[in-house]
């Protein structure tokens, strides 16, 4: 993702210059995590092998693996993006657009009539 130079302001505690990178990392990771959850839900529903793989807890069934996998990947992606961007300022407009598009797609893809199209 391209970065640009922009003026940083002091942190919430007024101790050091603050960039938007950490916030952008959190937003993009949340968008990706939401989208992954919807994708895993579809894959777990369509593929017998995936359905079996996603049974992390037998009483809950594939939902346990679908959600746990998405949450673990979301946090991992968040950590990686945070470490990479925390000291930088990035183009938030583009990251917001991507993140919100992923979130809206996640909402739509979890809707069974749409998920059933795949």
């Amino acid at each position: 993702m391209n970065t640009q130079t922009r003026p940083a302001h002091s942190s919430a505690h007024g101790t050091a210059a603050q960039t938007n990178g950490a916030g952008a990392a959190a937003v993009l990771a949340a968008g990706i995590g939401s989208f992954l959850l919807a994708v895993f839900a579809i894959v777990g529903d369509k593929s017998a092998a995936a359905k079996s793989f996603f049974i992390f807890s037998k009483p809950t069934g594939p939902l346990s693996g679908v959600t746990t996998s998405a949450i673990v990947l979301w946090i991992a992606i968040w950590i990686v993006l945070h470490l990479g961007w925390r000291a930088r300022s990035v183009k938030l407009a583009r990251i917001n657009a991507i993140s919100i598009a992923l979130l809206v797609l996640a909402v739509l893809l979890t809707f069974p009539p749409i998920a059933g199209l795949f």
Binding site: G23, V27, A29, I71
Partner: protein, 189 residues
């Protein structure tokens, strides 16, 4: 007046954590919209900053408890498979699927609810983390504040969908069973 333990858990999950989250959402949206708008006249005080941080943190805790109780405590009772010949009354998923008049409540309602609800803790945890990271400086990052606002708004819609279908599913095929708790003994008729 009595209630089964499974019904009580359903009540705690939906009316407790879920409903409380929905109520909390409206205030979070207003707070982010008004106080953290770059055009707002009044400054964001340290008290306002602390309020938003802990308010969003409390919402994140509510969201996580709601999805975890729903997924790991109630959902297994909902999807349990009845033994051959058993009455379907204690097996909500099978009861709903047994009739074309009710199967949609599972195939659309529950299938959507069980997944869309998990978008809520992701969105609100992000919002709380951004509030802790930026505090009052969120006003100086309008694009970041807008992103947080959209995620909180979508979490509100997602929680609303989950709450609506939860309420309708309880009406169509309630999760019940377990031991019975006697709350109040009524008068003899």
């Amino acid at each position: 007046m009595e209630i089964t333990t499974r019904s009580l858990w359903t009540l705690i999950h939906g009316m407790g954590f879920g409903m409380l989250y929905l109520l909390a959402c409206s205030a979070a949206i207003v707070e982010l919209w008004r106080r953290y708008s770059p055009a707002a006249a009044a400054p964001v005080t340290s008290r306002d900053e602390r309020f938003l941080r802990f308010y969003l943190l409390a919402m994140a805790v509510l969201a996580w408890i709601a999805v975890l109780t729903g997924t790991y405590a109630i959902y297994p009772w909902y999807r349990a498979v009845p033994p051959a010949g058993a009455s379907l009354a204690g097996y909500p998923q099978r009861l709903l699927l047994s009739s074309p008049a009710t199967s949609g409540w599972h195939s659309i309602g529950m299938e959507w609810k069980e997944h869309i609800a998990w978008l809520v803790p992701i969105a609100i945890t992000m919002a709380a983390a951004v509030a802790f990271q930026y505090g009052r400086n969120l006003r100086r990052e309008p694009q970041l504040r807008n992103a947080v606002l959209v995620f909180v708004l979508v979490s509100f819609i997602a929680a609303g969908v989950a709450g609506f279908f939860g309420a309708m599913l309880v009406k169509a095929a309630p999760v019940s069973g377990g031991s019975t708790l006697h709350l109040i003994r009524g008068a003899q008729p």
